[in-house]
């Protein structure tokens, strides 16, 4: 562990260096299969942490444990000191937002509506307010729309606000998913393979976007296969192999670790014949 894990009382706006996410000893079993075995991971505010590993290493399972889609069989996950609730919508309300490995936008809603759905936890207007349409309703709707447009401006989709999200090109759908996740005002953003299927230019643009998100004060945890992307981006990288954490450290440490190379490329062939 290269990081100090301070779990003292948290201020609402975490200053840099404080632990945002603290996963301890997380184990996830499906019947007899252990997909994730005693993984510890911390993410501090203002940090971009990468999670890499070969296919089937349990990265997405670990992600799902962090976002409430799965309840870990053992271990606990704390967000800013508090244990995460077991329901995914409560996790989002607590402040962890995520994107999906296979894009899961609301295909038949407009780009703007997608982001507005992301605002759900940060707004309160219920059915009665919608039916009666008091001044409070209009104010809240206008505020939501303004914030959503700001986010669309941030990811560069403001001019496409009224398009159906299904009609966006692939790269822009990825950006929209990030904007939608940001709309819930998270303290930690989990990105599940944000550059999958992108060309080098798009990957670079995504890199810039992730840096910009970090600069907004949001901690980021990224799963990725693109090594160049991950080593450029991340302050810290954790390697997951067969459900266990192999190495954690700076990009250089991980890049030079023989075990990581072995996990990806296999052991050197040493017999003579």
């Amino acid at each position: 562990m290269t990081t100090d894990t301070t779990t003292a009382g948290q201020a609402p706006d975490t200053p840099a260096g404080q632990t945002v996410l603290d996963a301890r000893n997380v184990t996830m079993r499906f019947g007899g299969l252990t997909a994730v075995r005693s993984v510890d991971l911390t993410v501090n505010s203002g940090e971009i942490v990468g999670l890499i590993g070969p296919n089937g290493a349990g990265k997405t399972t670990f992600f799902n444990c962090l976002t409430g889609l799965y309840t870990p069989t053992e271990g606990e996950v704390r967000y800013k000191g508090a244990i995460l609730p077991a329901k995914s919508f409560k996790v989002t309300a607590a402040g962890i937002a995520r994107t999906f490995q296979n894009i899961r936008l609301f295909a038949n809603m407009t780009v703007l509506e997608n982001v507005l759905v992301g605002r759900h936890t940060r707004t309160k207007e219920g059915l009665w307010s919608a039916l009666l349409r008091g001044p409070g309703f209009h104010r809240a709707e206008a505020a939501s729309k303004a914030r959503a447009m700001e986010l669309l401006e941030f990811v560069g989709l403001a001019d496409k606000a009224e398009h159906l999200s299904r009609n966006l090109p692939y790269g822009e759908q990825r950006k929209l998913e990030i904007a939608r996740a940001l709309a819930s005002e998270p303290g930690l953003l989990l990105l599940d393979e944000p550059t999958a299927g992108m060309n080098p230019q798009e990957t670079r643009a995504t890199e810039e976007l992730v840096f910009a998100i970090r600069d907004m004060g949001i901690a980021v945890l990224v799963i990725e296969h693109d090594m160049r992307f991950i080593f450029n981006l991340c302050d810290r990288v954790a390697v997951l192999v067969q459900g266990e954490k192999l190495v954690e450290g700076s990009s250089e440490t991980v890049q030079q670790d023989d075990r990581v190379i072995a996990a990806y490329l296999g052991e050197p062939f040493e017999e003579n014949n």
């Binding site: 609301f106 038949n108 759905v117 919608a130």
Partner: protein
Amino acid sequence: MTTHTTAADHTRPHKEDAPTGLLPIPTGPARAMATGGGALTVISAFLAWTWTAAFPGDLTVYGYPGGLPARPHHRALTTLLGLASYGIKGLRALTPGNADAALRYAALAAFTTAWYTLLAISTDLGGLANLEPGGWVAAIATLTALTGALALPFNRPQTYPVDPEDTGWEQTRHRLRNGLTVFKGAFAADTPPPPRTLPSYIEILIIVAALATGLLVFTYGIGTEYDELFIGFLISVAFGFAALAKAGLVAHLSAYTARHRNTTLLGAFLAAAAFPFTQSDDQYATIGVYILIFATVALGLNIVVGLAGLLDLGYVAFLGVGAYAASMVSGSPASPFDIHLPFWAAILVGAGASLIFGVLIGAPTLRLRGDYLAIVTLGFGEIFRLVAMNSDGASGPDITNGSNGISSIPNLKILGFDFGLEHSILGFPIGRFANYFFLMLLITLIVVLVFRRSGDSRIGRAWVAIREDETAALAMGINGFRVKLIAFALGAALAGLAGTVQAHVTYTVTPEQYQFANTVPPNSAFLLAAVVLGGMGTISGPLVGAALLYLIPNKLAFLGDYQLFAFGLALVLLMRFRPEGLIPNRRRQLEFHEAELEPGETPPPTVLSKTGA
């Protein structure tokens, strides 16, 4: 190089040098035939079609089609269509879309209506000898118009030449496919350009005119007295509407209504309120009020199915709960409770009881998704009916009076206005059913407003998000169960609202009124069909769907036992050819027809303003 090009030429799509029509007639004569045929059709409408008044509708009289004791509406209709086919050719401004495609549909409408009438006359009266010259003129005129219209040139769709190496059967199939493509192409129209922005008072006038026309057409349809006339009406309306759609007028109108949503709503409400004033007695107001009950419940179901995507097959039970609850506090002698609440309290009891039932049934079932939810709701719908049937004091507690139901429900009295009596408003007699029609219209308006406002809000977006992708919606912080339960309970409460009025309109509430499938709407199957047929997620869709689904079985008495069969067949055909419904939500239309765009062609820029439409 040269050989290469020729080889490429063979595989390239086949293109005509100059656009030609389906029939080999030069453009000039074809246009003349279409126009002349249209004019002749108009004239024929003023002639006698048959000698005897034995054929219903009395088509024996020469002269102006209106103002006669009988109802020669056939002629009025063909006149209109003849004029339309003539006018559409002349007035470019009327047809922002494709004038020729519209003309083809209009000619087809006139042709099928006229020939259907003539065939009906001949079969009814036993022979072609029963046709007067007017009938023959109509037959020839409409045929000429149709021939001319079909010979007009159109943009031929791309077809591919037959592969000479294919087997004979493959080649025949390929030729047939090509023929079908060309035939379809003849009736296709380009998307009309977006309408110019007119001064808003003109746009509102156009909307008012359209609504008035709608009222006229509806009033005429509801008043058709015999099967042939109603079928003729359906044919004319279907093809006439297609002609208007091809002319691009429908698209323009919907653009205007989208701009003046409140005006349109108010106008539609007033047009519907004007309906009882067009009637001289209470006969058709009965149909009107039943259609409204059916349509209102369908609109309530549209919140559950169309917005939140919860397939509810037992929805009619909530109508039943509302009706039973209202009947029990209505002061009916058959009610176990000796209470007579005023209407405002009764409506609260009805809607409240349905709401509670909605929550009670929804809380356990909404944890299921998709098909499982559909099956469980179907079960609960039947459970309600069976419980109502058996709570007769013999096999259960004495609450609902068993299969006899709660009868002799007294008429409503609101502020001294007795709904059971005939009143005179502005000199027009307004009977019992017309009174209830007005009350029901008010409830429909409430439901429309609830639908529109809830759909376009934080909660409405959450419903749509859940429908689109429940896992992603949960990950966006939406409490799926809670939001679905709200949709379910709201839908139930709205059905209960309609049930309160239904109990009073029908005098009696029996369990048999609330089945899953029945020949008489409303029942769960027909409610769902009204939503799907009309268009999921829209306001006008379920209203139109419900009106059609009520009128057609009601008017086509000859279908008899085959009603459900015809209904099923119609649904299959609709799902095959227009899966998005008659009045599609813009986004659903895209969802279903995106695949039909040419490869490489970008989908039309979609600018959606509101959730509903």
